[in-house]
């Protein structure tokens, strides 16, 4: 087990190194936009002054040095936890990410919660009542939800709720979204306000993810229900409840957990979309705005943090999986 964890961790370190290198190379493809944006911040009168300003910016950002030297500086800063400061706001990217990651994490966790709460009972019912009317109805809804993309569903819901019911979620500054202490008495702050903002995107995103999990859980349950030990459990005269929940569901959930790990990438992408549509001030909305303004330290920082976290979570999922099912390690 230790050897397995060590090997997986080393491979993941390699993966993170590739991620870092890839981002470095991508952002060096075309640096013209960045230089122009920075140079425009200083007022210039003539063409020569403008060119001088551009040259100054190139020197400031280290873009005049050879690529390998830039790469070394970049890695050095990264190892020391320095992601640079944003071009527009001139704030430290790392601490900004810390400020804004809260709402994104909350939305992601709520989505997973909604997905599991919806998918597990439906998947189980659909499997134990295979090929009955209720199975067909549930599967039809799952396919329909898979077919409707998150952003289309979100726009439908928003348009409908605004036009028919005149309801829109309150707007909150990101510093007020997760207040401390949570039960503040001020107007527009606190848990109730937070949930009002979060419930629509969480349900919409969670249903889409839930449909994938439900289909997978159903096929896993169908396989487990045909196992010999389940038949033995029936023959022993155990109650249906015990057989389904304790003997079958527990075993069917193991592969489902890995799928949830793999779905995290989809959930992060979904977060970007949902935050943009519902104006939730998390890192998704932030990065979309930053890209529009060619604010590369932010883009680079967010992508790095997200990719790093995803790689780490995948490592955790792999280890959990190997721990739950020892056969994996020998495969």
């Amino acid at each position: 087990m230790q050897q397995y964890i060590l090997r997986r961790s080393l491979l993941n370190l390699l993966a993170i190194f590739f991620v870092v290198t890839l981002i470095f190379l991508l952002l060096r493809i075309d640096t013209g936009h960045v230089v122009t944006m920075r140079a425009q911040q200083t007022q210039t009168a003539s063409a020569e002054a403008e060119e001088a300003a551009r040259q100054q910016v190139r020197e400031d950002l280290g873009l005049d040095k050879p690529l390998l030297v830039q790469y070394r500086t970049y890695l050095w800063n990264l190892v020391h936890g320095d992601l640079g400061e944003s071009f527009q706001a001139r704030e430290d990217v790392i601490s900004e990410i810390g400020d804004r990651i809260g709402p994104s994490l909350e939305l992601g966790l709520l989505q997973i919660m909604v997905a599991l709460v919806v998918a597990v009972p439906i998947g189980v019912i659909s499997a134990i009542r295979q090929d009955t009317a209720i199975d067909y109805v549930l599967r039809f809804f799952a396919i329909a939800l898979l077919g409707i993309p998150v952003f289309v569903l979100a726009v439908f819901v928003l348009t409908l709720s605004a036009q028919k019911f005149g309801y829109t979620a309150p707007y909150t500054d990101y510093k007020d979204l997760l207040p401390f202490p949570p039960f503040a008495t001020e107007e527009g702050v606190g848990v109730w306000n937070n949930l009002q903002i979060m419930f629509m995107p969480a349900i919409i995103g969670g249903l889409g993810t839930g449909a994938i999990i439900m289909r997978f859980l159903r096929s896993q349950m169908l396989e487990v229900l045909r196992q010999d030990y389940v038949r033995t459990a029936w023959a022993k005269g155990l109650r249906e409840r015990v057989i389904i929940l304790r003997h079958s569901l527990k075993n069917a959930m193991i592969p489902v957990l890995t799928v949830v790990g793999l779905l995290l990438g989809i959930i992060v992408s979904g977060n970007v979309v949902l935050e943009t549509i519902f104006f939730i001030p998390g890192i998704g909305l932030w990065i979309v705005n930053a890209i529009g303004e060619y604010d590369y330290p932010i883009v680079q920082g967010v992508v790095l943090v997200v990719a790093g976290v995803l790689v780490f979570i995948n490592l955790l999922v792999d280890i959990t999986y190997a721990w739950l099912d020892p056969r994996i390690r020998y495969g």
């Binding site: 952003f151 036009q163 992508v303």
Partner: protein, 337 residues
């Protein structure tokens, strides 16, 4: 007894004159079987066919839709390969009316404008047709790119195994660690809005999944007796890969291609929806949906939203259903979930 059998054999083998080989089922019979066995898949195929047909010819001018260029799927017939597709933004009521006077924005559906008009007074149906061309153009280009690169990587990686395989697979893992949407937004924001760049970026993101599936199939194919036979006969590695392995993994590749089309079209719409300023601005379903979200006036009814969103849903649904059915027919091994 044995001798008698041996003597009887020729008599058995010589077929009577009226015997014929079982006839191959005709194409029509095959199609009919597919329709009966896979009703959902047939529905998906129909949606795809309608989408392609919509883009093939100009809609009738008398229905209020403008002159669409005779360029099916974004490239002119007779040109060697897909030439770059440029939308000629000549819409009735569009630019022209904006110059002359008030524009007919947010009109209701009528015989003149099948799906009404949008914010700029453009006919929604003709914009949908243009957008379908753009989606197909990007989808085909992206998938072509992803399939060629993914097949090469997958086949080479699985054929040679060993440390190069490990290295390539870790590299692909790190690519997959990126949330696809963030990577896409990052890539396209680096360049001027350009359809070809967008198609390549979408294909680049799709390479990882294509190569993973191809690699899995090749890992089992390379152990087949006919591959071994080719090696024994002294075929080089390249020859074995191109002439013996590649033709035998075509079924999964076709399946990946058809399922990938739906995904790529969806990703393109999502991109155009989220960062409309970073994508080419000719009609796109994503941009149309974004416009209805941004500026649908309260008195306008919801069908403008339904038109743009419905196009995306139907196209993605069509490609997914058709792809699923194709997978069941061509390669049941790939079935997951």
């Amino acid at each position: 007894m044995q001798a008698g059998d041996r003597q009887a054999q020729p008599a058995v083998l010589a077929a009577p004159a009226e015997w014929t080989l079982p006839k191959r089922p005709s194409v029509a019979a095959n199609v009919w079987r597919f329709v009966r066995r896979k009703p959902l898949g047939t529905f998906g195929m129909l949606l795809v066919i309608v989408m392609v047909a919509m883009t093939l010819g100009p809609p009738k001018a008398e229905f209020g839709t403008p002159e669409l260029p005779d360029r099916p799927l974004g490239f002119e017939l007779g040109k060697p390969f897909m030439a770059k597709y440029e939308a000629q933004a000549v819409f009735r009521g569009g630019v022209v009316n904006a110059l002359i006077g008030p524009i007919d924005q947010w009109l209701k559906p009528s015989t003149q404008h099948w799906l009404g008009t949008d914010r700029g007074g453009h006919d929604t149906y003709s914009r949908m047709v243009f957008a379908a061309r753009r989606s197909l153009f990007i989808g085909l280009w992206a998938l072509t790119f992803a399939t060629i690169v993914g097949c090469t990587i997958g086949v080479v990686s699985a054929y040679f195994r060993g440390w190069s395989d490990t290295l390539i697979q870790r590299l692909m893992d790190s690519l997959q660690a990126f949330p696809a949407l963030l990577l896409l937004i990052m890539i396209i924001s680096l360049f001027e809005p350009n359809l070809t760049i967008m198609a390549i970026a979408l294909g680049f993101v799709g390479v990882t999944s294509v190569q993973r599936i191809v690699r899995g199939v090749v890992l089992s194919t390379r152990e087949e007796p006919y591959v071994e036979a080719a090696r024994v006969l002294g075929a080089s590695d390249l020859r074995t890969m191109v002439f013996h392995i590649l033709p035998n993994i075509m079924a999964p590749v076709i399946v990946v291609f058809s399922i990938g089309l739906g995904t790529v079209i969806l990703a393109e719409a999502a991109l155009a929806f989220i960062v409309p300023e970073s994508v080419p601005s000719d009609p796109s379903w994503g941009i149309m949906l974004n416009v209805t979200r941004d500026s649908l006036p309260p008195e306008a009814k919801g069908y403008h939203t339904v038109a743009a969103g419905g196009a995306i849903v139907l196209a993605v649904l069509g490609f997914n259903l058709a792809g699923d059915a194709l997978r069941d027919v061509l390669d049941p091994r790939l079935r997951v979930g």
